[in-house]
Symmetry: C3
Subunit: 188 residues, 3 copies
């Protein structure tokens, strides 16, 4: 991710003239700042690596739940036991919380399937202790039904985003009906 | 975001030879095109800022509705009263429309919760006056149920994207069950 | 997307001194490696195009189904007949499969509306032959109901992502209730 400048003096010139050609790109980034002086006929070769843009932060997770969950009390965090991805390692399945690593704009999505019982399911997407968006599912049969929603949030470093099971029971299965995802869209 | 080239002539050379070293990066972008010639021993220092990539456009909004909505006629726009984000300021909650600021690929998501009444809910995601995708929710109990869908759209500057309530009633609450989001994925 | 270095020897200098100025940016990328030597007074002009970051890969599709689908057997792929976008041309509607063009992190979303029949709908999001996440919809009325879910997946080039209709019937309509989307979030 750099380039070579090959510069040769024009031999007949009384004033210093260099003719330079930029060649390809360096094969690896290890050549940062490397300079080689090819002595023959005064030609110099300068290998320059332009300032690299810092590698943009990459943050993305999808967590899934494979076991039922029926907490005895209201407003419990939903935890997870599987991860399809956890780029940046900012989601902790055991506590069900994403911790924001850097200020920016993040997208969150969730789908939570209720147990086939006659209790409605209420899920809140929380930023710290504040309800951002919510989802509801009920089915009088009783049957399963999915509570889902999403939000794009401006987060500050250290903010915690999590799902709160306000009320109801979650159906878990190895087919992973209940999921929670987030990703960094734009870093500030 | 630039780099220094420090080039020194080799003193013993009869033909003009320069040996250059690339140093670090410039601390700020204010040094664009700045050149300093360090006179001592003919060494020159060139500070070059490569052409900056223009700051990529950032567009993202999540709007939510906290009040019920039962229009008397079909095919009304769904308006909103809360914003979780509105990067780029292209979503107008009062009219419920996103106006595309630049050609590109955009992602849209919506979740609209119906009132617990015996009228089905039909929602269309519109690009200008064209139905892109739709969602339906009904529950004979009667109960709430969510109409949701999404679409990735190629938009031109000025295109308007909005949700049309074809039929039905929306449940609003400070817990924000009914949401509409969009973001720029790739600018053309 | 390059820059000019205009370097002039200082005439009074006995040792070779060049004073360089970086000028603007090149109008087009066609100037890669072009060097022009302006003979007058030994000034050289070097037009350098920094190594371009390769144009980031852009992959995004939304497919929709406008016709009902009731396969006679379990576990059939869901095919589609409309595309709202297919950046990168990696989704094949006829077979309903996305083929990953490059290692990276991808986001997938789907919403599938069931027919108003008394058969539950089970949909699996598949990576090759493995169930990633699933969705369920049923409504005893019988009525329509949407099976939806999403996942962020780490994919390798050549991986195939598709929706499997484990069981049930899909409702199709020109209003496009049944959709499947994916996009590249971060390329490896």
């Amino acid at each position: 991710m750099g380039f070579w400048l090959v510069c040769s003096p024009q031999e007949e010139a009384s004033s210093p003239r260099l003719t330079c050609t930029a060649l390809g790109t360096l094969a690896t980034s290890t050549a940062t700042g490397v300079v080689e002086a090819m002595q023959d006929k005064g030609t110099i070769i300068v290998g320059v690596t332009p300032p690299s843009h810092p590698q943009p932060l990459r943050v993305a997770f999808t967590a899934a739940r494979t076991a039922n969950y029926t907490p005895g009390t209201l407003d419990q965090p939903i935890t997870f036991d599987q991860l399809h991805s956890n780029l940046g390692e900012m989601f902790n399945t055991n506590v069900g919380r994403f911790i924001c690593p850097a200020n920016g704009t993040y997208v969150f999505l969730f789908h939570i399937l209720k147990l086939a019982v006659n209790v409605p399911l209420y899920v809140n997407l929380m930023r710290n202790d504040e309800v951002m968006v919510s989802a509801y599912a009920n089915d009088g049969a009783p049957d399963h039904e999915t509570a889902s929603n999403h939000s794009i949030l401006q987060l500050y470093q250290g903010d915690q985003v999590w799902l709160r099971l306000h009320r109801g029971s979650i159906y878990g299965s190895s087919w992973k009906y209940s999921t929670f995802s987030g990703f960094l869209l734009y870093q500030d």
